[in-house]
Amino acid sequence: MTSLLLIDDEVQYSELTKEYLEMKGCNVVLKHDGQAGLDAFKLHPFDLCVLDIKMPKKDGFTLAEEIKEINEMTPIIFLTGQSLKEDKIKGLMLGADDYLTKPFSMEELYLRIKAILKRVKVQEKAIVIDQYQWGNSKFDLELRELTVAGEKIKLTSIESKLLKLFCEHQNKVLTREVAMMGIWGDEEHYRGYSLNVYVSKLRKFFKPDPSVEILNLHGEGYKLVSKQRVTS
């Protein structure tokens, strides 16, 4: 499910936008000022952010800069009531992926979100990734080497396969079935115990780096959450 962070100070109207996007199957977190939006972004990973520009406490441009500092990969759409050309240019210069001028069409907003996420997916696939980097951690797939807070750890084949799967599903759910299929090519019941052991090992490796966390999602699987993703 697409997770969106919507930040708009129009308290009541933005509820309508949230509801519409939720009807379309998105998971939407709504905040009404820039600072609250930034706090939410620091706590959870989002696939895309929709930001109003004129907001109390922190305007949309400042917020976009701060979001990009945390995760430069996060796509951003600006909502602007201002039709001034310089505003639009400034926004796009900051790495906003698109903008909509108020009053905007709900359907258009949804279609643009979909288009951007599709584009991002294609771009991610096009890049051959053999190195992943987070806050204080780096994973070299080819060397099967994980570096956490400066310390190098040589991974086994299975640890390396599992971490690669986590990287490919970063900030998304990695189901137990997908993990088992990806590592062993089957999902026999007894593999479940082994999977738990390997997940625990990876957690232990990442312990010195608080920006990376592997969460247990009861009945679903796991999620590797990183607040600072850089892939290359």
Binding site: D9, E10, Y13, L16, Y20, K54, P56, K102, P103, M106
Partner: protein, 108 residues
């Protein structure tokens, strides 16, 4: 009568969303308009600009383009620090708006 044709398009034809939007509009707009003179008197330019900004968008949704344009002009003036005549302009706008609103929604 309010023209809801544009709003319907923006709400993807969802009548429930349209009805909720209108309901918010009918409550929020008169309240915001009534706050304009006070904000101006207190020289709270930031809040005043935000109020114009918000009203501008709401009027646009309802195709009330003349009101929307007045909001845009006053917002721009306040943002540029041109506040000398803003109280007069607010007073003129408020009179016009109240007259319109009473005709449109006599039950309120």
């Amino acid at each position: 009568m309010m023209d809801l044709s544009f709003l319907r398009g923006q709400m993807a034809g969802d009548e429930k969303l349209v009805a909720r939007f209108v309901s918010i509009f009918k409550t929020q707009v008169p309240a915001q308009v009534s706050q304009l003179p006070g904000l101006c008197e207190n020289e709270d330019w930031e809040e005043l600009s935000s109020a114009f900004h918000s009203l501008k968008t709401q009027f646009n949704y309802m195709l009330m383009t003349e009101f929307a344009e007045q909001m845009r002009e006053m917002e721009e003036s306040v943002d540029n620090g041109e506040t000398a005549f803003i109280a007069t302009r607010i007073a003129e706008f408020t009179t016009k708006f109240n007259h319109f609103w009473q005709n449109e929604f006599p039950e309120n």
